[in-house]
Amino acid sequence: MEKDPGKKRIKRRRWSKDDSQLSLLALPTFVWYLLFSYLPMFGVIIAFKNYRITAGKGFLYNLLHSAWSGTGNFVYMFKSNSFAILLRNTILYNIVFVILGILIPVTLAIMLSLVHSKFKSKVYQTCMFFPHFLSWVVVSYFVFAFLSADKGILNHVLEAFGREPIQWYMEPKYWPYILIFMKMWKGVGYGTVVYLASITGIDSTYYEAAVIDGATKWRQVKYITIPFLKPIIIMMFILSIGGIFSSDFGLFYQVTRGIPASLYNVSSTIDTYIYNAIRSNAPIGMTSATSLLQSVACCLTILMANWVVKKVDDEYAII
């Protein structure tokens, strides 16, 4: 990657004993990458094949003897009814998550940094961070405790106010809000701590100078805190934009309790579709095509987001 030829000549030297030792040290992880990251990349060939299983033969035999289908799998997928729904759900939810996932934590972090008592602020942090460490399976039981139609506490409350109980798991109209709420419930604490860590890293002399100049707290936040948070906000933004075609699988699959048919339109995403297809032994070529398309789309969006950020300010790009 060195462009300067003069520099390159100085850098060029023989393969040393150090290099061998370091290579050896890197070997296990390198092998891991080959097996678990790069081998699947070649596995995408399945997307272009009419993969058929011949009993008793190995996977490679099957792959080699399956007919090429060209773009057949992709065409089929685009024509299927659910594709539009999957794409819409995946993208719309993610857009909301990206926006709220930056706005709420940044606001809370700034507020938390201003709370007088440092001890209280620590306690709040600890509590809010807690949901981040739970798996979606566990969280789905938390949700069930509130939303269960006959035993859940929300329906008890509704009844106490003389309202009709609601069959939550049958009513699609509430779910966009429930899903967004749960995503925030689990993620906001983590984001808050990330931003708070950077806020405490800001040199306090800036604030002192601002105070001497008579700046109000609000102005300090606007002209010191937020500009300092900008790099990390942008980094988090690029990372989350890169995931816009993939979804938080556990959220959609577990919180809805396996995506019942009644909620299919509001809670199925590309990932849940692929997962169900794998588990139900659907034609693997088609599923693989969806999966490949998702990877390519993610790759393109992350490169694009990075490119845009680079145009605006080179400093903030991650690549």
Binding site: T29, Y124, F146, I284, L292
Partner: protein, 308 residues
Amino acid sequence: MFQKNKEEDSAYKLNRISKPTNYLFNIIFVICAAVAIVPFIFVIMISVSSKQSIAKWGYQFIPKNFSLDAYLFLWNEKHTILGAFGISLLVTILGTIIGLVLTSSMGYVLSRSEFKLKGFLTWVVFIPMIFGGGMVASYVVNSNILHLKDTVWALILPLAVSSYNVVICKTFFKTSIPDSIVEAAKIDGANQLSIYTRVILPISKPLLATIGLFLSFGYWNDWFQSSLYINNSKLMSLQAILNNIQKNVEFLANNPSAGLSLQEYKNMMPTESARMAIAVLIVVPIACAYPFFQRYFVSGLTIGSVKG
């Protein structure tokens, strides 16, 4: 860090937010904190409600009748539950160790600026951050080529390394370990392997703690790998049991104690509270461990935010 807080305090004192605003903020945060914690307390309460209480009044924050039946039930099925607990523990410990070794060794190698293959390996680590083969291809590779299905390795290996962690390690080694230490060790005749194990790792404990904690929480919480790759009931982790509880409560009931028919046994089971009890069983170790490790997480997040 505390020193810094104090300094900042003095700066803030000159121009803090007003008392009423402070009250308002505190109220908001008390609500946020409660929203985060209360569901867990609620689930604990359900797990100690009696079967009759749940049948009659549903889930309640303060159950009318307390009962430890759910936990007794799990204790009576300790054969299965302890097995699952053991699998969770094994996967967590083994996975964390393997993950730490693989991640930190690669991070160290990439932090050596004079290393010849550095450029190549950097790309090897970087490309998967942007592009992956996708769920199907990984599934096919893991189950048909590597034959990991129904082995404990299917739960461990695919999650062991993440490029993000490798980059964090590399950045840490590069910024906080002076080259002179490595040079000095080299002059003393140490080879790279012993420099890595005897010099670098011992002085990188904060980093190892952070990455290790992230890995172990990830392994403890994983249910996805089991749901894809594990059919053998002996290899079910706690998360897998909870994930498939409908099936598993029956599975637990398939070994009724002597003198009871299967149906009688099923009727006796505190199904509702038993589910919540398993959830509690999963969360309690996390809830106990994490406040102690929180500072590592915070420092880890700060390390991670340094651009690599």
